[in-house]
């Protein structure tokens, strides 16, 4: 599904290398987690994959189902099935959440040569999905993310994910700012979307999210590279010993 090959990335406006050769492969239907200390380049990876401005790829490539990702515009990547759940979902005053969702759903359908969804079908669709995530009608009417609590914002991200049915989902620190109940709700939403044809890349600083979203593979990222990969037990090791031990082990 997602293949990242020797990816080197620097900041566009500064001479600062963030990613220094990331290699990663997430097969279809799998959940991979990336853990790592602050500043290791986790969020940068998610932004580069989704096409945010401000980064320059100096070497390497990334493909989604064999398609070269890095040459595409952000909306083309989205249409190709890449979804990023933002660490800090953006507020858009004046734009109703519903309008936003429908515009996005129909834009992607159009890009894939599918029929646009009628207003009635869309409404049915969104209501069903919203109910699963305990998102009430009021939240759908309010402007996108404006005045939402931290938990509401993250639930809203998962709702969008559910509506857009991407094949590759990147969750960037989805657990940040969530209490236990909210984390459970969000995780259930994600787990409900797990499917043979859909892969996840879960970026997180802490292990606790991985109690709810069980990964197949855990990668440790440090200083712009994947330094260690293993099973779910690797996350527990981090939880118990912190990053220092693992990093020391690698340096040695």
């Amino acid at each position: 599904m997602l293949k990242i090959n020797n990816l080197h990335v620097k900041l566009e406006e500064e001479d600062k290398q963030i990613l220094k050769g990331v290699d990663l492969e997430v097969p279809a239907g799998k959940v991979h987690a990336i853990m790592g200390p602050n500043g290791s380049g986790k969020s940068t990876l998610s932004y580069v994959l989704s096409g945010r401005d401000g980064y320059e790829v100096t070497a390497g490539d990334a493909t989604l189902d064999g398609e070269e990702l890095l040459d595409m515009e952000p909306e083309e990547r989205a249409a190709a099935g890449l979804f990023l759940a933002f660490q800090y979902p953006v507020e858009i005053p004046g734009v109703g959440n519903m309008t936003f969702l429908r515009t996005a759903v129909n834009a992607q359908r159009k890009a894939r040569g599918e029929e646009e969804m009628s207003a009635a079908d869309f409404l049915k669709f969104v209501r069903a999905k919203a109910k699963d995530l305990k998102i009430d009608a009021d939240m759908l009417k309010r402007p996108v993310n404006v005045g939402f609590s931290g938990g509401e914002k993250k639930r809203n991200e998962i709702l969008q994910m559910a509506m857009l049915e991407p094949k590759m989902c990147i969750l960037d620190e989805t657990d940040s700012g969530l209490d236990v109940d909210a984390m459970k709700l969000v995780s259930e939403g994600v787990n409900a979307l797990r499917d043979e044809g859909r892969s996840f890349l879960v970026i997180t600083h802490y292990q606790r999210l991985l109690d709810h979203i069980k990964p197949d593979v855990v990668h440790i990222m440090a200083a712009g590279r994947i330094v260690k990969s293993g099973g779910p037990e690797l996350a527990l090791e981090v939880e118990h010993n912190g990053y220092a031990d693992i990093l020391a082990e690698i340096d040695a």
Binding site: S50, G51, R52, D53, E73, P74, E75, R77, A78, A79, F83, L84, F86, P89, V90, E91, I92, P93, G94, V95, M98, T99, F100, R102, T103, A104, V105, N106, A107, Q108, A111, S118, A119, A120, F122, L123, R127, D136, A137, D138, L140, K141, P143, Q160, L164
Partner: protein
């Protein structure tokens, strides 16, 4: 879940909007021209032309005199230059001041006489089917059930009102809705009393010219304690080349009455600029309320700034009675040059004025628009919400006045002016004047200028929208407060216009 049901209606509207936007695929929608044989007065303006216009309209002597006096004043005035507008000097003698379809030479006795090409025009303008039929004079059309809400239409084609719908039904309610030329003949006592009483003959250069040469327009009188049974609407259409359009609208809302009035404007695509100088006067008596909504979509010129309408408009509402209320809502997307300041004179105690505006300029368009809130009476309130969007090489200026006179005790004003810039070749300007002469009143003014937020753009694009779609969505959000102030039909049209007007502004 009542909330969700509400949602359906609202979402339904927006769905249609999105579809409509897509079907329009770009170019100025109203850029066609109707080939109709026209009758012109000779080019230029002088007392003879003024007399001719008055004569063509069969006007009484007092009206002719009124016009001639205006003309004499106009000759002594200079064109104002204070607005942030830059356009080639207008040769006022190189314009036609009167044009009307030849088929109108004999005023149609019934609407059957209306030229079929005119009717084709209404269709293209999107005038509702029933109104088209009425304008076309189809037998029994008036008695047919209207689809959805009824809107009475007065259509002004170049200089002449070509037909007004639903007159009979309105008459039953005591409402007078007709062309102003008809009103001058049929209701001279009302016209004499009110014409020029809000916008005096010598108010400003363009209004004075209008007073001399206006050829037609709409007239509305709502009797006391009457809620106008339907929305009233005028469609203005400039068709003939090199022809100035000077329409005059007079609306009188008598005590305790209510009316909502809609105005739409379009013009064909032409390489040479055309002049439009209208005057709208509104008189609002005690406890009466008028809502005046405009979607101005005159031809804006092409992407190189060629052609387009020069739009110089004087609109003013006089809240004479206590507790009277006026609400101006405008969506200004058209015209090469816009010079327009719909204003409120808050004379009556506890009277209220509101101004909601969206002005979008793209390519080489220039807009200098805003409002005046003149608080004269005690406990008066005003609210200004202005959203300016500038793209391409356009210049967009908000210019406004809020004035609290010494006697306007306990009055309030709140002003919010926001400007959005799309691209680095355009300009957005804010020129507010604030004058406060008593201390029990409170004036608050806030203004911001920024560009479309990059984070918001990326978020939308990550969800699959292309740049233009994302910009249209964000801009509609930015202008939400104003769009919500419009009647439903206009809100739809306005949303489409936002998207269309901004085409080509990104990337």
């Amino acid at each position: 879940m009542a909330g969700v049901d509400e949602l359906i209606a609202k979402e339904g509207v927006e769905e249609e909007t999105v579809e409509a936007v897509k079907s329009l695929a770009g170019a100025y929608k109203y850029g066609w021209e109707t080939e109709i044989e026209m009758e012109y007065a000779p080019k230029g303006v002088n007392p003879d032309i003024v007399r001719l216009i008055s004569d063509k309209n069969d006007e009484p002597e007092w009206m002719t005199e009124w016009r001639l006096e205006a003309f004499a004043r106009w000759e002594k005035l200079d064109e104002p230059s204070w607005a942030l507008l830059n356009y080639p000097e207008i040769d006022f003698q190189d314009q036609y001041y009167y044009a009307r379809p030849k088929s109108m030479e004999e005023k149609p006795k019934s609407l059957d006489d209306v030229d079929p090409k005119l009717l084709e025009t209404y269709k293209k303008l999107g005038i509702p089917l029933k109104e088209q039929m009425i304008l076309a004079g189809v037998d029994g059309a008036e008695d047919m059930p209207a689809e959805g809400r009824k809107v009475a239409v007065d259509a002004v084609f170049d200089s002449v009102s070509v037909g007004t719908t639903f007159q009979a039904e309105l008459k039953k309610a005591g409402v007078i809705f007709c062309s102003i030329s008809e009103a001058i003949k049929e209701h001279p006592e009302l016209v004499k009393k009110y014409l020029g009483s809000v916008v005096p003959v010598s108010d400003n250069y363009y209004a004075t010219l209008n007073s001399a040469v206006f050829s037609d327009g709409s007239f509305v009188y709502i009797p006391p304690n009457t809620r106008c049974p339907m929305e009233l609407s005028t469609y203005f259409r400039i068709n003939a080349e090199n022809t100035g359009q000077f329409e005059r609208t007079l609306i009188i809302a008598d005590k305790g009455s209510y009316v909502s009035y809609l105005e739409g404007c379009t013009a064909p695509q032409r390489d040479t600029a055309q002049l439009h100088a209208a005057v709208v006067e509104i008189i609002i008596e005690e406890d009466a309320e008028v809502k005046y909504s405009t979607v101005q979509n005159w031809y804006p010129g092409d992407e190189n700034g060629k052609g387009g309408i020069y739009n110089f408009v004087t609109k003013r509402a006089d809240c004479r009675g206590d507790r009277s209320k006026v609400m101006w809502t405008q969506v200004e997307t058209g015209s090469a040059v816009t010079w327009k300041y719909p204003s409120c004179i808050l004379r009556g105690a506890e009277s209220q004025g509101e101004f909601y505006s969206i002005a979008i300029t793209n390519n080489y368009q220039q807009a200098d628009t805003g409002t005046k809130m003149v608080h004269l009476g005690r406990d008066t309130k005003s609210r200004i919400v202005s959203k300016g969007i500038s793209a391409g090489k356009a210049q967009n200026t908000y210019r406004g006045l809020v004035s609290m006179h010494p006697k306007a005790k306990n009055s309030r004003n709140y002003t919010q002016c926001d400007s959005l810039l799309i691209g680095d070749k355009c300009g957005a300007h804010t020129v507010p004047y604030i004058e406060v002469k008593n201390n029990s009143s409170r004036v608050e003014h806030e203004a911001t200028t920024s560009k479309v937020d990059e984070e918001q753009m990326f978020y939308c694009r990550q969800r699959g929208m292309d740049e233009e779609e994302a910009v249209a969505l964000i801009v509609n959000g930015f202008a939400k407060e104003v769009l919500q102030a419009l009647p439903m039909e206009f809100a739809m049209e306005a949303q489409q216009l936002v998207a269309i007007s901004l085409e080509g502004s990104v990337g």
